[in-house]
Symmetry: C2
Subunit: 457 residues, 2 copies
Amino acid sequence: MFDPVEKLKEFIRHPSVSADPSFKDGMVGARDFVAGLLTSIGFNVEVIHTKLHPVILAERHGKPEWPHVIIYGHYDVQPADPLNLWMSAAFEPEIRGNRLYGRGSADNKGPLMTHISAVARLLERRPDLPLNITFMIEGEEEMGSPSFPLFLEQYQHRLRKADFVFLSDTGIPREDQIVITCGLRGLVLFDVVVTGSKSDLHSGLHGGVLRNPIQALAELCATLHTPDGRVNVPGFYDDVLEVEQWERDELAKLGQSEEQYREFLGIPAFYTTKGYTPFEATRYLPTLEFNGIGGGYQGEGTKTVIPSKAFAKISCRLVANQNTTKIRELLYSTVRERMPKDVTFEIVDQHEGTAYVVVPPGRSNTPKDQSPVLAKAFRAADTAIGEVFGKPPLYLREGGSVPIIADIKRVLGLDSVLMGLFLPEDNLHAPNESFHLGVMKKGMRASEKILEALATR
Amino acid sequence: MFDPVEKLKEFIRHPSVSADPSFKDGMVGARDFVAGLLTSIGFNVEVIHTKLHPVILAERHGKPEWPHVIIYGHYDVQPADPLNLWMSAAFEPEIRGNRLYGRGSADNKGPLMTHISAVARLLERRPDLPLNITFMIEGEEEMGSPSFPLFLEQYQHRLRKADFVFLSDTGIPREDQIVITCGLRGLVLFDVVVTGSKSDLHSGLHGGVLRNPIQALAELCATLHTPDGRVNVPGFYDDVLEVEQWERDELAKLGQSEEQYREFLGIPAFYTTKGYTPFEATRYLPTLEFNGIGGGYQGEGTKTVIPSKAFAKISCRLVANQNTTKIRELLYSTVRERMPKDVTFEIVDQHEGTAYVVVPPGRSNTPKDQSPVLAKAFRAADTAIGEVFGKPPLYLREGGSVPIIADIKRVLGLDSVLMGLFLPEDNLHAPNESFHLGVMKKGMRASEKILEALATR
């Protein structure tokens, strides 16, 4: 059995930024690394080519009547910029305290390595384990998984035979409190590009006769929220469902402190929709955020220019029952209506993903036709996590998005068991991302127990 | 006598971007080039060191009772980015049609070379000309001339002896219509930097609980103009004076077409303060412009981040009688009042310059104590320009800023004769800057005639 932490460091050293073509070598390196590792522990590995970054499909199949779990993960990572804010190099993993630092350590290389290690140990101990295992590891998750739905369509004849999907790409509040995520927000992303004059202008010679595209963009963006923190787009909330009572109760068990959360964020005050705590707002409500804005001179000092263009990168998080196409149309028509008429503009589609909800066994709203193997997996997770981490998991919706979970449900008909492993302090998508090695170690034991329990009659 | 166009090309090849320390070699190269050229035509050249980029002071002095003209220019240029929009390399001068393309060709290397060439020709023809000439050529104009006021203070004992300053760093509407600029707008520049959370956040995990700094910045910026194009800062217009009737009449002679101007800018519609034509608005009214904005992810594709910081670079153009300190205070207190309280922010001072007005001889509001040599210069310019360009100059205020003109007035007590030479199509401060070689040639003849006339009893 290999050393999981050393393997994780090796994995992180491949700078697999899927969104940036200049990181091609890192993508190939990370993929070859995972494929080699799975081969070494006895899997039959296929690299399935897509339009961009291939999917790794690795199978360890015995008899068709055995339970069948698909373990999902992704080998790509977010861009690491701004690089100057990292305390150690983003792609040179470094252990400080009980944490391993590096881009992708928590999202998703660490959690994925946790499951690969658990499987390696389990199969070493029980080579004849009656469990079909498929690893399905993609390379475009951080770009919104553009090729993944087509991959699912093309391989559905093999993948539909599975009973459920098992993965760790969601969060936990504390290192002793595992959360099984039962809902994920959806996403709709787009850019707005505003053009004023046909080229940059001298702000003295021409200042005072035209609307600066930065001004037009600011005036648009300023209309998109109400003072009490709601998204100010007509119809945006029409399909949002009220949350179930058991979910509110489960969330209350978290016992998180708003003041500590505020200090963690480092903000003077929250800006949250009235009637919702910050912890509820991130789970049960949709959002509209500005992920980036740019235009004109951004260097040191000054340049007295009226820029020709300015842009904003906008994303909405959606909740269960909101339709991405309908929301996109509401957003676009709002932008069209509100944009000042003395500039021109373009709306650029970016990716999207549907929100997802699954209900564990035994709840008031558990579907009657829930798969027995899925129900068994939830119960096995409840037990194993209780044993390893000292307390049972909480079943909560999550603010993040893993759009492929909804795609898997739609194309394969499979639900997912999302065992969270990363902490708020892990700095996902931000400088100084890290993964807690204690959580990794316990996660490996829990994963091993869950998988073993599935194979037990 | 040297070839003025070849010398100008040589001048442009030195990439003298004063604001960017990485262009140090270009600054030194441009300075050495000008110093060498002036030495070669008989000037006594001193390089006066300042905190940043030296001033070139070159003298050709005879008897103290001779008239004395200071010719001003600057050897530094604006940054050339975005480089990808240039049709030929920014610092590789190229002639296409009757234009010489290259950064600095019009601002200010071409106009400066026009006067150096005129002086060279005049002194070749009349080596004993009874005229004291001082060239005063700085290297920080595009940064707002931070060292220039101190230079003026330190050398005022020599410079105050002059009668007036002659320069070309302003514009003309057409190649046959020279404008002598009688007013320049002032400037106040500052940055606003907004901070939300202490580091970048995942927009899924944390979206919905805090005000995004881009949102806060957009909400602030959107309040700074009224729908009819005025600056929405209380007190901003309090000291703006009504323009004189002779100025309105003079401007009307320009006969410019609003429709052609709109097409030149490439905008769907003007956005101009009510009651002012676009041509009046740029000359008689102050502005507030966004020169740049930035924050979050600006690359290809998407990054689902809530950025920690966002910034805007803001500049105001001021008109005569507005006080920079008072305007700065009004702006800052407006930003402080209107910024949402759930973010933190910082205001960063940038440079500033006072507006300037001079009235030519014979107008209703010409000062009674106007210097006789200045009056003679205005009359000589009227005649020489009429002869060379086929029609007399117009006397107009200009929208741009040359803050040192107000500094020269304050420290040395000298007025300036600003003979415009660049055209709207010259693309100052923008990609594909160029200078019209026909204007250059005529400008040389006019400058030569004006200087010669000054030396005539």
